[in-house]
């Protein structure tokens, strides 16, 4: 019962968050200077009026919002002004690319990040530690657009010059095209995960029960695998929820560098183009995804860590 009311409460908050997000997005969109139909070429008032009417922009703001909410509740995000395609279709077409890229990057980042963190913690203050931390610092500080360009230059252009073969620089067709974007996208997250794991691992390794385990004669790998990592991984799980949402919904930079038709590109371009329906549609989709991911982590957390009471009094304070 406690579990159910906890989950219901969380879902209620999540729905409220999405609603406020929609209201805010809708209002802020109106503040964007310019209108979606402005182009290099002036268009006649007759045509401008016709375009406003076509997309319902000639109606008062409150009416536009009600129509928008009504359509949203019926699962319709409207017609993109720039592409003239339903926003639902655009998301359905492009999200799988972003999601695949995101999942690859996430799995890569989590596996290698945790691995690096554990090595750094166990071999604390050795060359291993320094190397892992250096890699982490580089990962956090190099933005993905530089990382992407560097990877392209090295593994595509230079490899071809040196060895006569190289990875493709663009596209999302076949495993080979997916390597560089995945690496470019995962590097930052991997670095964050590595640092977090290291800190958390060091904390856990200093606990009394680890000393007990050691005193009982367990091997290092048993201690790490069975006792330390399980507890040290909790903070990593916490950040993986929101990180997953960020990675999966697409990143403009990596997608545009590698010419991947993901949602991230549509999201950013819609703002530049004043494509109102697309802005609202992608934002709400992104919002729901983020809220849902946080919700799932919140609920999972309750299962992973028995210390957290499902009634949630401690976590909500």
């Amino acid at each position: 019962m406690a579990l159910l009311s906890y989950i219901l409460k969380r879902i209620g908050y999540a729905a409220l968050t999405v609603f406020f997000l929609m209201v805010l997005t809708f209002l802020m969109m109106q503040l964007l200077p310019g209108n979606p139909f402005l182009g290099d070429k002036a268009i006649s008032q007759v045509t401008m009026d016709a375009l406003y009417a076509k997309y319902g922009l000639d109606k008062p703001l409150w009416e536009q919002f009600l129509i928008y909410m009504n359509n949203f509740l019926h699962g319709d995000l409207g017609l993109s002004i720039k592409y003239n395609r339903p926003v639902n279709t655009i998301i359905a077409d492009s999200f799988p690319y972003s999601a695949e890229l995101g999942i690859r990057a996430l799995v890569f980042a989590a596996c290698f990040g945790v691995g690096l963190g554990v090595i750094a913690a166990i071999k604390r203050n050795t060359g291993w530690d320094s190397a892992a931390i250096t890699l982490a610092v580089i990962g956090v500080s190099i933005p993905s657009f530089i990382m992407g360009a560097l990877l392209q230059y090295l593994f595509a252009v230079k490899f071809r010059a040196w060895f006569g073969f190289g990875l493709p620089t663009m596209g999302w067709k076949g495993e080979a095209t997916k390597i560089l974007p995945t690496l470019a996208l995962c590097f930052g997250t991997m670095a964050t995960v590595a640092r977090l794991t290291r800190t958390s691992m060091l904390d856990v390794l200093g606990q009394d029960y680890i000393k007990t385990a050691r005193a009982k004669g367990l091997t290092d790998s048993e201690i790490v695998g069975r006792h330390a990592l399980r507890n040290a991984i909790l903070p990593v799980v916490t950040i993986l929820g929101p990180t997953a949402a960020t990675l999966l919904t697409g990143t403009f930079v990596v997608e545009s560098i590698f010419n991947i038709p993901g949602l991230g590109q549509f999201f950013v371009k819609s703002i530049r183009e004043n494509d109102y329906t697309m802005i609202a549609g992608t934002t709400v989709f992104y919002g729901i995804f983020l809220v849902a991911a946080t919700l799932v982590v919140d609920i999972l957390y309750g299962f992973i860590d028995p210390r957290i009471k499902l009634t949630g009094s401690r976590r909500e304070s």
Binding site: L32, P33, G34, N35, P36, F37, L38, G39, D40, K41, A42, I43, S44, V46, T47, D49, A50, L51, A53, L79, Y83, N84, R85, I90, D93, S94, V107, C111, F112, V114, G115, A149, Q152, A156, V157, R160, F165, G166, L167, P168, T169, M170, G171, G174, E175, A176, T177, K178, I179, S256, I257, F258, N259, I260, P261, Q265, F266, K269, R272, N274
Partner: protein
């Protein structure tokens, strides 16, 4: 478990490294379109990117040859009656749509009827309506004059517009004035045919949004379209001129990142890319041949002539001439673009018009002495009773590096040569357009690309009530000359009128011409016969692949 996952991933990575070389398909070419074609409906599109694709998949009555001249497309031949300004087009019997139906005169009539309807929201309708008898009235929902009605009736048109399908393969159309570039306009996508039944089946919103939602009759058909990524065009074996189309497949990549395109080209994945100044220099240093084409655009300052100081033509002229356009090209643009010495760029009419107009002003004063320019500036200000200190000038421009560099150059030139400080404001493209439309600026660097191959596409910008005239410049003499040039049937006399318009611009300078853009690009060694012009930006019908 984790180890296993990591192992599998690393194996996958290693395996794909080995499989990693994907050469460009040998039967076709891969080029960078550099953008997603946003609207592929011939009726409503305004995007040059979309038109670059449409030119390959849909033919109009005419098509443009390598020199931008209109030659037969769907129309095999035509008759022209100069007295009534009427063309009669005879359509090819073997022109077919991708579903096998014949292309008929009704497909043109339907497309034009739809295009010239306000509710369609076609942004080019206002431009082309002036050319077709009755189109402006149809678009604006106004009554025809008695004279127009009589003219239509006399020519045997059943309705209130000057176009009709005489039979399936004969189309009659009457111009509103003796338009000398009319046949070129028929090679412009807005005037391309659309079969009514398919348009209605697909729906006006969805038409042109997906590969299966476009009817094609051209040299190629669309076989794949992954939005914001790439598009594949395959040769249409049933095309009437298929024997002369050498490239079987064109893959158009939509790479917006210039660095990626460059890496892709060097990596052998692309056959043609556009180049920025640094990339062109790099490849030239490696001994590669850099190609150029004139994209037909003119770049100039638009001055807000309502602002104090800016309302004086001497001030505007001084602001224009204080900028060393030659230096701008060599130090900022860094390619073969040319400094403007008149307004209409040399891409128009094969350069003949610009040649006749000649040099209307010097871009760099003799010995580089700008004192005369400064004196002109001060004289102008004195006439308005203000000093340079009262002049608060703001130049607005787009976001991004290029725009910032351009404006920094102008700022420095005005400071050095005129002793004034001009503030630079960068903003989004849409914001800039809004500021221009609401005339909330003093100076803006703007560009204009031609819609058709005639000086008028540039010169009619500055008529008093012109929608693209953000300068508030209003000169009745200019308006009268434009009106006169529009209806002048004699080519030589018309040219004289156009030249006098150029001279008025050079004298009044509501705008300050700076340069005419040329663009650098490179192709792989496999390609030959690449044609890029101001009106045929990308057209691969003449390309041969080694």
């Amino acid at each position: 478990m984790k180890k296993l996952v990591a192992l599998v991933l690393s194996l996958l990575l290693a395996a794909s490294l080995l499989a990693g070389c994907q050469p460009a398909p040998s039967t076709g070419i891969v080029v960078n379109l550099a953008q997603e074609p946003p609207d592929m409906s011939t009726i409503t599109t305004t995007s040059t990117g979309s038109m670059n694709v449409l030119r390959h998949i849909v033919d109009g009555l005419t098509i443009l040859d390598q020199n931008d001249n209109p030659v037969p497309g769907v129309a095999e031949s035509w008759d022209y009656d100069a007295d009534t300004l009427t063309y009669t087009f005879h359509l090819r019997k073997n022109a077919t749509w991708n579903d096998g139906k014949a292309v008929t005169a009704n497909d043109f009539v339907f497309a034009w009827d739809t295009f010239f309807t306000a509710e369609t929201g076609a942004e080019y309708a206002g431009t082309w309506a002036a050319l077709f008898l009755g189109a402006t009235e149809k678009l604006n929902g106004t009554e025809l004059s008695a004279e127009q009605s009589a003219q239509l009736a006399a020519l045997g048109y059943p309705g209130s517009v000057g176009w009709v399908a005489v039979d399936d393969s004969t189309l009659k159309v009457t111009m509103a004035f003796p338009c000398q570039y009319f046949l070129s306009v028929l090679a412009f996508p807005s005037t391309f045919p659309v079969p009514q039944a398919d348009y209605e089946r697909i729906g006006s919103d969805a038409y042109g949004t997906e590969k299966e939602n476009i009817m094609t009759n051209g040299a190629y058909t669309i076989t794949e379209w992954v939005h914001e990524s790439y598009m594949v065009l395959k040769k249409n074996p049933k095309y009437w001129d298929a024997a002369n189309i050498a490239v079987d497949e064109i893959r158009l990549e939509m790479i917006t990142d210039t660095n990626t395109a460059y890496n892709g080209f060097v990596n052998g994945e692309l056959d043609m890319i556009g180049l920025n100044a640094e990339q062109a220099a790099q490849l030239a240093a490696e001994g590669k041949e850099i190609l150029h084409y004139d994209d037909g655009s003119a770049w100039y300052f638009e001055y807000n002539t309502t602002q104090p100081g800016m309302n004086n033509k001497k001030v505007r002229k001084a602001l224009t001439l204080a900028v060393d356009a030659e230096l701008f090209i060599t130090s900022v643009v860094k390619n073969s673009s040319t400094a403007a010495t008149s307004f209409v760029p040399p891409a128009i009419a094969g350069g003949k018009f610009a040649e006749k107009v000649g040099k209307l002003y010097e871009r760099v004063p003799t010995d580089g002495d700008y004192s005369a320019v400064k004196a002109l500036f001060e004289e102008g200000l004195a006439e308005e009773g203000i000093s340079a200190a009262d002049l608060k000038l703001v130049i607005i421009t787009d976001e991004g590096d290029t725009a910032a560099k351009n404006c920094a150059f102008f700022q420095e030139q005005w400071k050095t040569h005129l002793g004034i400080d001009v503030e630079v404001q960068q903003m989004t493209y849409k914001n800039r357009l809004e500021r221009m439309t609401s005339k909330d600026f003093s100076i803006v660097m703007a560009g204009w690309g031609p819609d058709y191959n005639d000086p008028m596409t540039f010169l009619d910008l500055w008529v008093s009530d012109g929608g693209n005239n953000h300068t508030s410049y209003a000169n009745p003499e200019y308006d009268a000359l434009i009106a006169q040039a529009l209806v002048e049937p004699d080519a030589a006399k018309r040219e004289e009128l156009l030249i006098s318009l150029e001279k008025i611009i050079a004298e009044d300078m509501p705008i300050g011409p700076i340069y005419n853009r040329r663009r650098d690009y490179i192709t792989s060694e496999r390609l030959s016969g690449v044609v890029r012009t101001a009106f045929d930006d990308m057209n691969f019908r003449w390309i041969k692949v080694k």
